[in-house]
Symmetry: C2
């Protein structure tokens, strides 16, 4: 058993052969016969003692699970207090889902905003967040905005500590930030800059910036954070899954059992605690079907996101929350049925002469609006027909889009159009109808037999005619496409430079009268889920009695997101992961 301690964490597996089941104390163990939740609720009352005679393979002060934004910030903020920190990562590489992401982080009232003279008052920021996160509870006339106190306090904590955490990351030389701007220098507006509650529509969205001054995406963000972790010699053990929380008699955390890719199991003792930053549950088919709001097929989340903390946390007595919500996205159905971990989501369907239609050939959503919101339209349930008419939808576009948006996901390079299997084509709408129908037949086992309405081609013809009229006039009377600032920003971001259509609304152009026409099958997916064990303002995991489970912390997509149902704006995912990860690291170090 390792007795060594060091500031840099102290993994030592020199004596690490698995010695079978741990040798447990013979003392009075109430936990065996009471619920874990109840146990953790009142350790003092039951006179439990901090004993657990496991056989340990190594030990550290703070063990962090996961290397995304949440885990990295937890490790860095714990480490700088002087305690020993180690990290375990289920994947073979650093960065979690964050490294695949756009890499934005949304920090209200950040110091870059203040330096620029942008005002983002606390009450205003909270009004915006609460309005979107809890729309059916929101009440601007109440001090806590109509929210349950615990939810309000999490939002408040995010505001109060976000700017500080970012400043301290900069001071620690762990992360340099800049504004998210487009190529022409204009600021990325908040997704809901058009809501009256948004008093600071620009400036909250930040990106990591290199020493050379070049803003980057998730790779830049995680590259900087990983370097900071490495600079501090914080050990990172890869290919290790958190498999069981090891608890003392009073329910507090003793350590963590981890299982390597090769099946080797080890017990790591934690003198202070464990911080989970391990991602959501989208790649657990069973969980996504039993918890989420609607039918979802996968996500661009790292494959490691299999809901480990939902199971581990529940078993430790944690109370689950926000299980119905996710960071919704649209994904390519044909990729998702191959592997729920798809390479990429469709942030915004590229192109102007392009529409999304359902099985009836009808538009059902503003194609250019924010992915998180747009994707929920797949969940619409038709009561009478007992079907999800938008379960799968079809991104229909013409040759102009195939050309002008070539290479912009998911539209292939022009010369690859015919060789890209997920692109279905037809010279006429009737031919396209037949081709889609044939493709759907091959996919029936994955979709509940989802098929096109027999009148699909005819209806689609009418849909295009109506859309073309809107495009000429510039006004989408049905779905208001292109009316919101974030749509225009996104549309520009995902359009080839220099391409301008001649119509009044840059997001709409009439589809050509002549084929070929193309279709790509879309389905609902996620960036990741955002339900799991609940935390308090210190990122401590709560039990079913709303009491912290001593030594257990969480942040990021593995916990019940403080954001509720909302996606405040670009970076609304990563910023709370960073902030509550940092708070977890700070608090666990004080134990």
């Amino acid at each position: 058993m390792s007795k060594k301690k060091s500031q840099e964490g102290d993994f030592d597996f020199s004596s690490s052969t698995r010695r079978g089941a741990p040798n447990i104390s013979r003392r009075k163990f109430l936990a065996a016969t009471t619920a874990g939740a109840a146990l953790a609720a009142s350790p003092a009352a039951i006179g439990a003692e901090k004993k657990a005679h496991y056989q340990w393979d190594s030990e550290t002060d703070v063990l962090v699970v996961g290397t995304g934004a949440a885990g990295s910030c937890a490790a860095l903020f714990a480490h700088r207090t002087g305690v020993a920190v180690s990290i375990v990562e289920k994947a073979a590489f650093y960065g979690g889902t964050t490294i695949k992401s756009q890499g934005a982080y949304w920090i209200p009232n950040n110091s870059l905003m203040r330096e620029r003279g942008l005002i983002d008052a606390k009450r205003d920021a909270l009004l915006y967040m609460a309005r979107l996160s809890f729309p059916t509870l929101y009440n601007p006339d109440q001090a806590e905005l109509g929210l349950p106190r615990a939810d309000y306090q999490l939002l408040e904590t995010f505001y109060d500590h976000g700017a500080r955490v970012l400043d301290e990351l900069a001071e620690m030389e762990a992360l340099q930030s800049t504004f998210f701007k487009s190529g022409d220098g204009s600021d990325f507006p908040d997704y809901y800059s058009h809501l009256e509650e948004n008093k600071a529509p620009i400036g909250r969205i930040l990106l990591a910036v290199s020493r050379e001054g070049v803003p980057g995406m998730g790779g830049e963000l995680m590259g900087q954070l990983q370097k900071a972790v490495n600079d501090r010699n914080i050990p990172v053990l890869f290919n290790q899954r958190a498999s069981k929380l090891l608890q003392y008699e009073d329910g507090s955390v003793a350590g963590l059992e981890i299982t390597a890719t090769d099946g080797n199991v080890k017990n790591i003792r934690t003198r202070k605690g464990v911080v989970f930053g391990s991602g959501g549950f989208i790649h657990n088919e069973d969980m996504r079907r039993n918890y989420l709001r609607g039918p979802v097929y996968g996500g661009c989340t790292m494959p490691a996101a299999e809901g480990d903390f939902v199971s581990i946390g529940s078993a430790a007595g944690a109370k689950l929350g926000n299980m119905n919500n996710a960071w919704w996205a649209q994904i390519l159905f044909e990729q998702a049925v191959e592997n729920s971990a798809v390479p990429m989501n469709v942030f915004v369907p590229p192109g102007d002469s392009m529409v999304l239609v359902n099985r009836y050939g009808k538009r059902y959503v503003n194609e250019k609006f924010v992915y998180n919101e747009r994707s929920q339209s797949h969940f619409h349930w038709d009561p009478l027909r007992a079907e999800y008419p938008n379960l799968l939808s079809f991104m229909i576009y013409d040759q102009q889009v195939a050309k002008h948006n070539a290479g912009i996901w998911p539209i292939p390079e022009l010369e690859a159009t015919s060789s890209t299997s997920y692109v279905i084509s037809g010279d006429t709408l009737e031919a396209l109808h037949k081709a889609i129908a044939a493709r759907l037949e091959t996919l029936a086992a994955h979709s509940g037999g989802f098929s096109l309405d027999p009148q699909f081609a005819d209806t689609l013809g009418g849909t295009i005619e109506r859309f073309n009229g809107f495009a000429k006039a510039g006004d989408d009377l049905d779905f208001h496409r292109g009316e919101v600032a974030s749509e225009l920003f996104f549309h520009g971001f995902y359009t080839a430079p220099g391409h301008r259509n001649e119509h009044p609304n840059p997001t709409m152009q009439p589809l050509a009268k002549q084929g070929p026409y193309y279709a790509i099958i879309l389905a609902a997916g996620v960036l990741d889920t955002k339900g799991g064990p609940r935390i308090n303002t210190h990122a401590q995991v709560l039990d079913n009695f709303d009491q912290p489970i001593p030594g257990l912390y969480g942040a990021g997509n593995c916990i019940a997101s403080p954001a509720g149902q909302a996606y405040w704006s670009a970076g609304g995912t990563i910023a709370p992961a960073m902030v509550f990860g940092a708070l977890a690291g700070e608090h666990v170090s004080k134990l």
Copy 2:
């Protein structure tokens, strides 16, 4: 401590003062430091022993929690094997939510059908159930219909045992059944009799019938089951909440801690096991917000349905399922904000010159279609506006409906119209608009400030004009109102006898050109939720490794319903509760 045993169960609280924390074994308790789930998964592997030195206040073989359809059937089927059975009930009276219900039970291929020559083949019944329960997985070409095996087997078990359980209840003189018919003798068709998968559209829906041959509702059903329980001297202890599952070292069930209304706590030892039939979680505001598919305000469920088994089962290591679904219903918003336990749901909005409209004054659903399906339309999310436009909706009707449907819920007796606070009225549509707007203001704190669109009255005028045209022609081109058999049955059921309108579609009549007009505010609610711990085909509760937790059983609304997202037809709620309750009672007795 009670040592007495008897066939009739053996509650004995003569020595029942609370003696503080139980005196727990000092043996090697693995459970203290491993997840309950893992423990239960492999008790043999860890060499645990069946010991737990609790102080018991009484003991029985089988303890049943709840007195609705599930609990009653569990108790009856356990008792007839010869074991001692006792029941605890949280409420002060017998019958659970079942007693408040319509009392139908939907049993495929029941013997009454067979006697009448109605065919309901196993494969056909399973196709219908699978198609509705798991629409995105359904695949009629596969042996198990595209469902996960565990889900398929639960449906199969329901078919295989449903008719037998019913026959045996009749043999036991516990329940006499008859077909559900309307006053004119026509059969109540299945909700989805119009689907091609439905090969037995009539005959599955049954009701309890009195000795005098009078079919009854939930009161008749529970009256018969309660009498059967009483005839067998099965003790029922009221005002007792299940508060904690007491487990042996190996995770198997030792007994149950119950807490009385007065706070008195007792431990009941169970020599065989505990069967939960304790209802869902709709009256737990926190759970309904964190698990359900959309914003829901309450239900006509008994107030006792506070999700106890979600917490107790989770703490015991159970795997949760179907947490996002419920038996959806429409309820009166103003009642729900007073108390989430509303007296009644709106099975179908009565009347022909009546429409449901959203905050824009637009129809959004077929008003006469099945409550379970119709109610989900409240969940529609408008991405661009970041709002639920149908969160609250308005049942708008004229004086004809106020008169002809007087006394049919929720329409008050004619003379009570003006004194019924939840009925809002106006002499013109503009006046109605103003009155609704004023009412909504008083409710803003409960609805996230839900308000009418400024053009509500104008749009409503157009909506009514369009509806009136449909009514005259008999065809609802927008929502197909009145086209399905179950709609016509329901409409007839909830219409005053003798009232016939002169238009081709009995469910539609033009609204009057002149006021007064009335509005009632509706919201989404439930009969009850249907998520919770998962069971296997013996109604054993499963842990996170899909292994049974020995001695723990569940049926009814407290467990993950085998029905998935579906409401197969009238009685689709109660029938599985009865059947899996019975199976639980049979299986636990064999332990």
